[in-house]
Symmetry: C2
Subunit: 342 residues, 2 copies
């Protein structure tokens, strides 16, 4: 069961949505009293028949084995009003999985309750134990490294990387998803919570993540984070670009998103796509040459004909292949990448 | 006394040199057995009559009150062979000051020895206790924020910021130095060890540093870190650019440095200054408009006539005012900044 109180379907619940869509475990219920009585199907389509419930007691009837904290709020703290639910879940015998910055396993009350009940608390945002700076490692011969970048945070970079990996595997290409965020780590079972790493060691940690991924497949789809023009998160974005030294980048954009999520009403606007393409190539090229090889559009807010028109418009505007791989599958963008990288 | 065993005068000893040149306390000795018998004067000029000694015993004759770890090695670990010297210094009654990533005050053996002897161990690279993301705070009206950036790490950004602040104060301008590295924090007594901050919170921490500095003066000279094209540290650099939202940047370069320090022999070369100027303005402008208003040259390896020629050449190449403020004082660059920012 996934706790997403007050947020399900909104951007802060991207962890919930990501885990439901791509995670390895069955989700039996979403807890959100403000949306109780609804069904995940309404947001994600008929393949996802999961009830949204108001209380832990109702959710327990569906026999969950674990409670997953389904939000990624800016700053990564536990909303104080969620404390009681987490405690009750522990006392009901559920494991707890969290991607918050604050480590629930180190919370004295949670830890004591978990010990008493014999359940585990897993914090998926733990940084690697080794702190090492980047060494400028070259990619192994024959490997292709593709990083998603974006015009904003919370815009779909993880989903695009996953869809590209899935399309590649379906096409018989040995491909790997390299998770760089707590949701990706929950889905894939391994990876790096990049934004939790001490900044001096971020590029080193990303370098080692890619090294590990290259050992697992020929195409490495690295999950991007934030955006290069984000007032709060751009340093994490650049750490991923320079740490992963991608052969190609896929730029993720949502048509109609004019300002950064959470920064609406400020005097700054998301710049045109050609500007984003140029600056990403210039900045990546400061360390290793790279190209933006395709645009991935997040068309979740558009009806299908509008989505297709938006995709065509973006290709016209940028001269690059474009598609919504979450909606229409990753094949077209994968093909564009294979054509570009050989 | 400053411990710089095997390194004094080399780039890793930039902490030692910075503290000797700009720090508030008298330095009575440098410990470096490989350079014993020499004098700091040979490196920094006649104003700095400080003996370089081989052993702690000799140094204790000069009645130091504290031992300062004078290196900033990549990765920030304590060289194992320094352990014994630190322990002996503690046992001799000296306080210890360190800017390493590894916190000496949390080392069980050091902590026990310090407790027993009644001395303190101060780690100057501790991150702030509050972890908060950037809020996009605007500068207070009338404040001018100037950030040093560079074509490499360990190239003189801290010294340039300090010289500019000193020139401003001498000219009667209320100016503040905002330290962003452990050496700057040692010199100034406050500031932020930016590269130690969890990357998600780096821009927030820088934003609050600048807010604090604006409360102390009208001109804020923010110490830069790393470089935007550095394979290991660029994310810290960008965190400073977007977190501080500088009105102007001063680009620090060393003529003749062709590759990044520690990355010699790699296939990457430091790009021409006009390229650096353009990319810094473009990248800064993604969050807030900024200009590179001047070039600061580090001419330490050149004789004076060559240095003056190099400065003239750079002005010709970039069209920007240039000078070596450490060698010739900060007045000319300060004047250029005042002309540009009003």
């Amino acid at each position: 069961m996934i706790l997403a109180e007050g947020e399900f379907g909104e951007l802060p619940s991207k962890t919930a949505v990501g885990v439901i869509r791509y995670g390895p475990h069955e989700v039996v219920a979403v807890l959100d009293s403000t949306r109780a009585g609804r069904n995940v199907r309404e947001w994600l389509g008929d393949a996802y028949d999961i009830p949204v419930l108001a209380t832990l007691t109702e959710a327990l009837d569906r026999r969950p084995t674990a409670l997953l904290i389904g939000i990624a709020p800016p700053g990564g703290q536990l909303p104080p009003e969620w404390r009681q639910t987490v405690l009750e879940a522990i006392r009901a015998g559920l494991d707890v999985v969290s991607g918050l910055h604050v480590f629930l396993s180190e919370d004295a009350e949670f830890a004591a309750a978990a010990r008493q009940r014999g359940v585990t608390i897993t914090d998926r945002r733990r940084p690697p134990e080794r702190n090492e700076i980047a060494m400028g490692r070259e990619h192994q011969p024959g490997k292709k490294v593709v990083l998603t970048v974006g015009t904003d945070c919370a815009i779909g970079k993880m989903s695009v990387s996953l869809e590209l990996r899935n399309a590649a595997v379906a096409a018989g290409v040995p491909a790997v998803f390299a998770a760089t965020g707590q949701t990706g780590v929950m889905i894939e079972g391994w990876g790096l919570a990049a934004d939790r790493v001490i900044s001096d060691f971020l590029q080193g940690a990303v370098e080692r993540l890619v090294e590990q991924a290259e050992g697992l497949g020929d195409w490495v789809f690295v999950e991007g984070q934030g955006s290069l023009d984000h007032p709060a998160y751009s340093c994490v974005t650049l750490g991923l670009i320079h740490g992963s030294r991608p052969h190609a980048m896929v730029l993720v954009h949502e048509p109609g998103r004019l300002q950064h999520h959470g920064w609406e009403g400020r005097p700054t606007w998301i710049k045109p796509l050609p500007t984003h393409v140029a600056i990403h190539e210039a900045v990546a090229g400061l360390v290793a040459p790279s190209v933006v090889a395709a645009i991935a559009l997040n068309t979740v807010r558009l009806a299908e004909p509008e989505a297709r028109r938006a995709i065509a418009r973006v290709t016209e505007e940028t001269g690059l292949p474009a598609d919504d791989p979450v909606r229409f599958g990753g094949d077209r963008l994968l093909e564009a990448l294979r054509a570009r990288l050989g």
